[in-house]
């Protein structure tokens, strides 16, 4: 069993009882603070540095070739806890985009209701195509409820293009063309 050691507390000296030396020390500390640079940001002009793994507003991204990655599998819609995502699946027009026709599907409409979104990041985690990312946009406002629903074009505008190592659809296309029956 641990023994308790009682430490004698030293009686206060006369100077300590008057509090004056302590007050002087405190004044010195605050005066030192006064000479330091302020640690605050002048917000709208200066922006904070956003870390890479920040969970901001969810956005849709395109691959480096400028093609949309989403295949409207609707997994994000399914996993979304507050049911903020709504996807209307659509077919890819084979004649308009022949190099992408083998992907078959793309979202016709993609809506994220930012009044419902809780920024949990499940959609990013679940997306098999790495098409949806929570990026660095953190301040979002609007004058109406309609304005707060991000439509597909807005989502792509916010998302932009992210680097992608896989080029999954290029590989699939190559496999299809080279006639691998297993594909």
């Amino acid at each position: 069993m641990a023994t308790t050691k009682v430490i004698e507390r030293k009686p206060l000296t006369f100077a300590e009882k008057t509090f004056l030396p302590q007050i002087a020390t405190g004044l010195k500390t605050t005066f030192g603070n006064m000479l330091k640079k302020p640690i605050t940001l002048q917000y709208p002009e200066e922006r904070p540095v956003i870390p890479d793994n920040y969970r901001g507003v969810p956005t849709l991204v395109k691959d480096p070739n400028g093609r949309e990655k989403c295949v409207s599998c609707q997994l994000c819609e399914f996993v979304c806890p507050p049911k903020a995502i709504r996807i209307t699946p659509g077919e890819i027009n084979a004649e308009a985009e022949p190099d992408r026709a083998h992907v078959e599907k793309a979202p016709q409409e993609f809506e994220i209701n930012m009044l419902r979104c809780i920024y949990c990041g499940f959609c990013q985690e679940v997306c098999p195509e790495e098409a949806i990312y929570l990026q660095d946009v953190f301040s979002l406002s609007g004058y109406s409820r309609e304005e707060m629903i991000n439509k597909k074009d807005k989502l792509y505008e916010l998302g932009g293009t992210l680097p992608d190592e896989h080029f999954k659809w290029d590989k699939k296309k190559a496999a299809e063309l080279s006639g691998n029956p297993e594909h």
Partner: protein, 368 residues
């Protein structure tokens, strides 16, 4: 012309009084700004730096610099207080409710009548004080009038007719009455030394300043100065003793029910008290407008010297205001019982002891 000359003795004091009030109110406004700026510097912030007046604010470098310092902020603050909606809660006692802020501000503005703020040399070569009225009983006048300030707070608390203001008012009246004793006793030695029997000045503040030509009283009477300083902090309800407001436990204290311009009056009154307290401390203990200990009066005799003495006095006051603010953002608040025990059990006996010691010392010197 003769009519004008006949009325001159009436008009001139009125003009002087108006000028002094405007300067004083300007100082109050900028004391508020100083408080906000200094507290933000201490806390690692920037403080008000956005308000910009059209003409001066648009001068290329100067405008940005002044805006960054928040120089234009008091104008915005004042206008805000003026144009806010006047809300009067339904449960207040109306007459006293409106009277309280006025009573809070009036004593602070009245005391400055006897405040000498500089000196000039008259035609006969005699040094005269610059003051609205140089009363023989100057300091008694200040003590008497400034004690009335507590009525503003008590009245506000009572007229608000609700719990928190009432508690705040009760606390602060107890506190102010307790510390007034120590305050009064602590300055007695100052006058015993400076206004010896047969001196021509009596209890006027000018006499005290003139007695400090060689050495400031604060240097050889540090105990008096310390007690007076602590008591002044308590009297102005500043932070180590801000029993009256105590935002943390009493919402806003005595002015919880006040808004708009009426709150503005309380706010200005607080800073007016600080400025008055600083001025009195400088006059009694820090040599008034005397330059430095040992180098009393280097100013020339003409009007330039008078202006310089006033400016030096204002600089000392500015430092004291800075000190008030500095202390506020350094020390945590005392508990109510600690405030009371400090006042009654420590400061008052110390002040009395100091008085007795100085009395004996003077008696001893006289006997030798």
């Amino acid at each position: 012309m003769t009519l004008f000359e006949a009325w001159l003795p009436v008009i001139l004091p009125v003009i002087f009084a108006l000028v002094m009030i405007s300067v004083f109110m300007g100082m109050c406004a900028y004391a508020v700004l100083a408080e906000r700026k200094i507290c933000s510097y201490i806390q690692g912030r920037v403080g008000p730096n956005r308000t910009r007046l059209p003409l001066i604010g648009n001068v290329p470098i100067l405008g940005d610099f002044l805006t960054g310092l928040g120089i234009f902020q008091p104008a915005a603050d004042g206008l805000k207080f003026l144009f806010k909606e006047e809300i009067t809660p339904g449960h207040v006692k109306l007459g006293y409710y409106y009277l309280a802020p006025i009573i809070a501000l009036t004593p602070a503005l009245t005391t400055m009548v006897v405040l000498p703020f500089g000196r000039y040399v008259d035609a006969a070569g005699v040094v005269q004080p610059l003051a609205l009225a140089n009363l023989d009983v100057g300091f008694l006048f200040i003590l008497a009038i400034s004690s009335l300030g507590v009525y503003g707070i008590v009245l506000a608390g009572w007229a608000s007719n609700s719990k928190y203001p009432f508690l705040g008012a009760i606390r602060s009246s107890a506190q102010m009455i307790s510390y007034e004793l120590a305050l009064g006793v602590s300055i007695l030695p100052v006058f015993m030394w400076s206004a010896a029997p047969g001196s021509e000045y009596g209890m006027s503040l000018f006499g005290v300043v003139q007695a400090q030509e060689t050495l400031w009283i604060g240097i050889w009477q540090p105990l008096s100065a310390l007690i007076f300083l602590v008591a002044i902090f308590a009297e102005t309800n500043r932070l180590p003793f801000d029993m009256a407001e105590s935002e943390t436990d009493l919402v806003g204290g005595f002015h919880t029910e006040y808004g708009a311009f009426k709150f503005g009056l309380f706010f200005v009154a607080e800073y007016a008290h600080i400025i008055m307290g600083s001025a009195i401390f400088v006059l009694l203990f820090a040599g008034g407008w005397h330059f430095l200990p040992g180098l009393a009066d280097p100013w020339p005799a003409g009007p330039v010297g008078a202006v310089l003495s006033v400016l030096w006095f204002l600089a000392k006051i500015a430092f004291m205001i800075f000190f008030f603010i500095w202390i506020r953002w350094t020390l945590p608040r005392f508990r109510y019982d600690q405030v009371m025990s400090l006042g009654w059990k420590i400061l008052l006996p110390l002040a009395v002891g100091n008085l007795v010691f100085n009395t004996l010392l003077i008696a001893l010197i006289d006997a030798l």
